[in-house]
């Protein structure tokens, strides 16, 4: 038979029942998803770097956004791509979407770009275009370095790219001002850096899932990457820079609240522990 003796407050906050913690977490997540109270987001150095790199592209050059991701990493890479597209439109930079791996990537990115284009009144072919999925990895990049219209051929809709107004004067990578890599796959960055960034000195900025990001910090340190978005956090930071809070901001806001909850619980437990210990040692 367990008898419930009245407990001191310091003991009680040390022994919050687990069900209560579960309920708190559940409540916080549901509440913040339905009626969010935004916690501050301050862009970190690498995320700001992505925006600055986009803003710094000369007006006569285009940006390539290569979207090597599909549904499996969409939760992180989708908002990253979207925020980059917003950054391009806001700074009136022309960009082209393309990718080398999962063919799905250009389709998903195309939907995001179309949605944003409507918002800014941008026109396909003039302000942005989609080069589509190009098979051949290194070979594509090597031939792009020499002659982009030849290497790309037709765009996502089947139009030869040299017929697009924005492609006027775009011969080779020399007319590319920035490459933005958004990827859930390793080896893509190495390929672009090895074949485009290194030989032709074209700036590169990138976005990765949180899991794969750590291996690319050295490239950031060495200046081979101008900036880098890390997972949903990076996407949220860029979303806040372009003032288009979307899915990533919503998710990171819930994350912030959940983390604050856990940290408060830890602090509460320790406060109880310290007071209880003091009470026992007169």
């Amino acid at each position: 038979m367990a008898i419930d003796y009245p407990k001191a407050l310091s003991d009680r906050i040390q022994q919050i029942p687990r069900h209560f913690i579960y309920l708190l977490l559940f409540g916080v997540v549901v509440w913040q998803l339905l009626a969010p109270i935004r916690m501050p987001i301050v862009p970190s150095h690498p995320s700001q770097g992505v925006y600055d790199a986009i803003a710094a592209v000369p007006d006569d050059k285009i940006i390539i956004i290569t979207t090597d991701w599909d549904a499996s990493t969409q939760a992180e890479t989708g908002p990253q791509t979207q925020a980059m597209i917003h950054a391009c439109f806001q700074n009136h930079k022309k960009f082209a979407i393309m990718n080398l791996q999962p063919p799905m990537g250009v389709k998903l990115a195309n939907d995001l770009a179309q949605e944003a284009a409507e918002e800014y009144g941008a026109v396909y072919g003039e302000d942005w275009c989609n080069w589509g999925y190009k098979y051949g990895y290194e070979n594509v990049l090597m031939s792009m370095a020499k002659n982009i219209p030849n290497a790309i051929g037709k765009d996502f809709y089947g139009t030869p790219v040299e017929q697009l107004p924005m492609m006027e004067g775009v011969e080779s990578v020399k007319e590319v001002g920035l490459v933005c890599i958004v990827t859930g796959l390793s080896a893509m960055t190495e390929m672009w850096i090895g074949l485009i960034q290194g030989p032709y000195n074209i700036p590169v900025a990138s976005a990765y899932t949180a899991v794969m990001a750590p291996i690319y910090y050295p490239y950031l340190d060495s200046g081979q990457l101008q900036g880098m978005l890390v997972g949903a956090k990076g996407a949220a930071e860029l979303e806040s820079v372009v003032a288009r809070p979307g899915k990533a901001v919503a998710i990171m806001n819930v994350q912030s609240w959940a983390h604050v909850l856990i940290i408060l619980l830890i602090i509460l437990g320790n406060v109880g522990f310290i007071f209880a210990r003091r009470a026992r040692q007169p």
């Binding site: 919050i16 977490l25 910090y217 990171m252 983390h259």
Partner: protein, 282 residues
């Protein structure tokens, strides 16, 4: 001599289906006789010796290929071409143990149903789920539906979709997501300043955890990113802990287990293991 060639010489391909079945039947009979002869001719010592010999040869085969000198491009030695087919054969042999696992499940749940034990209806649900998944996964597989999928799906495909995407995948995702609750309550309970060790663990967890969410970056955002104090920005401090305190400690563990696993492998390979399993006869 390459692997395929040797197999071809030892086991020449047969021409017609009829001869194939004859060969198969004869192989089964001959194998049965061979196994029976092994069983009757070998005494306990002979069996032990044979088991040790098989273990040794299997280990030697995989190990020697790595350490034996190689030549040519791609670099090869006399065992290299054998590694892949032998691994496939082992995986096929191992696949036949699935029956044992399923037998174990059927044994436990079959008894529950047969004896109407407490909760027998759960065991019945188990059987229904097993057979439904087995039948419709195979059915869907042999429908060989064209891609893209037709507008109107055949009903077995619909059932498969509901079983897989409506039950199996959500059950996986929901169970996985239980970890959010468990990690919150484990953090609350475990991170107390009871001992110096616990306090260190808590401090590290605290900084890394908060450094990952936007609210953490915000807390120390007043420290300029280019000052020498930038090191103390929470997200930087978290990264520093991860890569310069966590990595070497993990390496220390990994070196230890490398040697430990090497010793275990050697004992297994040379049948030196004593005092644990499969060693009492010696």
């Amino acid at each position: 001599m390459d692997f395929a060639g040797l197999l071809q010489r030892l086991f020449p391909t047969v021409e017609t289906a009829a001869t194939l079945y004859v060969y198969l039947a004869v192989s089964i009979v001959v194998s049965a006789i061979f196994i029976f002869m092994l069983h009757t001719l070998l005494g306990p010592r002979g069996r032990r010796w044979l088991i040790a010999a098989v273990t040794f040869v299997a280990g030697l085969f995989f190990g020697l290929e790595y350490f034996y000198p190689v030549a040519g491009d791609p670099a090869k030695n006399f065992l290299t071409d054998w590694i892949e087919p032998v691994s496939v054969m082992l995986s096929v042999v191992g696949a036949f143990t699935v029956g044992l696992g399923i037998y174990s499940l059927f044994q436990v749940h079959g008894r529950n149903v047969a004896q109407r034990r407490v909760g027998w209806h759960n065991s019945l649900a188990f059987f229904v789920a097993t057979f439904a998944m087995l039948v419709f996964t195979l059915w869907e597989y042999y429908l060989h539906l064209p891609q893209p999928l037709p507008e109107v799906l055949p009903w077995p495909k619909v059932v498969y979709e509901v079983l897989f995407n409506g039950m199996f995948a959500p059950l996986q995702a929901a169970t996985f997501s239980l970890l959010a609750f468990y990690i919150a309550s484990a953090a609350y309970r475990a991170f107390r300043v009871r001992t110096g060790e616990a306090a260190l663990m808590m401090a590290a967890a605290f900084i890394v955890m908060i450094g990952q969410v936007p609210v953490g970056s915000w807390l120390t955002s007043s420290i300029p990113t280019d000052s020498s104090l930038a090191f103390f920005r929470l997200e930087r401090l978290g990264e520093w802990i991860m890569s310069w305190l966590n990595t070497p400690a993990q390496r220390g563990i990994i070196f230890g287990i490398a040697v430990g696993a090497l010793a275990m492998s050697l004992r297994i390979w040379l049948s030196l293991e004593r005092g644990t399993f499969f060693s009492e006869q010696s």
